[in-house]
């Protein structure tokens, strides 16, 4: 069995460097967890209506995050009076 080549003493990390590496790994782990949660939530939450994935079950009875999403930015102020005439099209009802 090949023996591991000893690391010269001048290349060994200091205690502070090891601590720094551990902190960096913790940061990456946290960022990964946040990203994974974001992807999961994107697939199963917010805009989905009633969702049942492998890990989550919601029914349409449960309120959505924002029940008014359908009418988001629905306001129309682009109306003006007209001098009359036949009109280009008709909103006649259905």
């Amino acid at each position: 069995m090949a023996r591991r080549k000893p690391v010269p003493i001048e290349h060994k990390p200091t205690r502070e460097q090891i601590r720094g590496r551990i902190e960096k790994m913790k940061t990456y782990a946290l960022a990964g967890a946040v990203a994974a949660f974001g992807i999961f939530w994107g697939l199963t939450g917010t805009n989905a209506v009633n969702v049942s994935g492998k890990n989550s079950t919601r029914s349409a009875q449960q309120p959505a995050a924002n029940p008014s999403d359908f009418f988001k930015n629905s306001g129309n102020n682009g109306l003006g009076s007209s001098s009359g005439g036949g009109g280009f099209a008709s909103s006649s009802g259905s």
């Binding site: 989905a48 682009g78 099209a89």
Partner: protein
């Protein structure tokens, strides 16, 4: 056999006195049981009309409740079992449920069984010749809350006994999709109208808006629409008699029968055609006070006509005669 079901639909008022803006052309075709209109720059009218016609054909193939081969008919026939659906169906289903939630169920896509039992079981052109039983009492709606969606498998499971009827929202969403497709093709300015539900993009050459005639009973108005969409919901258009009772196609999900609203028509201007369509229907069902509150809450402008011939405006809807 029950009494004859006699339709009393008013003649369509999309009359010959409509004018076409200078430099533009007007295309027509039939889809979704109604007449479609496309207004586009004259040189590109053919291209624009073909794109819209193709889009509506695709949507109608999937979403018509009057076509036995449609995806909607298949899903309705499989109630109680999960059915994998197309992306188009999934999109419309999702938007319909969003609308149901946003209106506390006053818009209800799960009233398919109710509307069939009320006698509107085929395209309205065919309804007058049908014999139909007198509709009995129905339970209220609300079954949309029991629809189960699985976004991973993209399946829809309807509760047993329920049938979907998307109603006008499918038409409104199709108009929105058509306008967005034409925008992507660089074909603005355009107007796409489906049986009175319409949306515009850009403005006609030399003008700052589109003149739209609103067919209020006995007093049609013409307003200028600078952008966005407009839709009208009316209980005067698709009417019939059954058992001596006046029936119309706008059901109140709270009762399960045609809405007993004092309003006869509501026209709404909104950003999107689907929003205008749903809002007009909901306001008509709710009546003048609650309907106006609903529309104001969402910042929409509207014209409400009641059964006594009076009209009421909401938001920035122009008072006729004002500058």
């Amino acid at each position: 056999m029950g009494p004859a079901l006699v339709a009393a639909a008013l003649p369509h008022l999309a009359a010959p006195d409509l004018v076409t803006p200078v430099g533009m052309g007007r295309g027509h075709f039939r889809a979704m049981g109604t007449t479609m209109t496309v207004l586009s720059g004259a040189p590109t009218l053919g291209q624009a009309t073909r794109l819209v016609e193709d889009l509506f054909a695709t949507w109608e193939d999937s979403l018509s409740r009057f076509t036995p081969e449609s995806e909607l008919s298949y899903v309705n026939g499989q109630a109680g079992r999960p059915v994998q659906v197309s992306r188009l169906f999934w999109f419309v289903m999702g938007r319909a449920l969003e609308a149901a939630r946003a209106t506390d169920g006053v818009y209800d896509p799960s009233m398919g069984t109710h509307i069939v039992e009320a006698g509107y079981d085929r395209t309205f052109d065919e309804v007058p010749t049908r014999q139909h039983h007198v509709p009995g009492a129905r339970s209220a709606g609300g079954s949309w809350r029991k629809i189960h969606l699985d976004p991973v498998a993209r399946t829809v499971t309807l509760p047993v006994g329920m049938r979907l009827d998307f109603g006008g929202i499918a038409k409104g969403l199709a108009v929105d999709a058509a306008v967005e497709r034409l925008e992507n093709e660089g074909l603005a300015p355009i107007l796409v109208e489906a049986g009175g539900d319409l949306r515009v993009l850009g403005t006609p050459p030399g003008l700052d808006g589109w003149q739209i005639r609103v067919d209020v009973p006995d007093r049609p108005q013409v307003v200028t629409l600078h952008g966005g969409a407009m839709a009208t919901s009316s209980r005067l258009r698709r009417q019939w008699q059954a058992g001596g009772r006046a029936m119309h196609h706008i059901l109140d999900p709270r009762t399960g029968v045609p809405a007993a609203s004092p309003l006869v028509s509501v026209t709404v201007a909104a950003t999107l055609c689907a929003q205008a369509d749903v809002a007009a229907k909901v306001a008509l069902i709710l009546g003048r006070a609650a309907g106006s509150d609903f529309l104001q809450t969402h910042g929409m402008s509207a014209l409400l006509a009641d059964e006594h011939g009076a009209v009421h405006t909401v938001g920035t809807w122009p008072i006729q005669g004002s500058a």
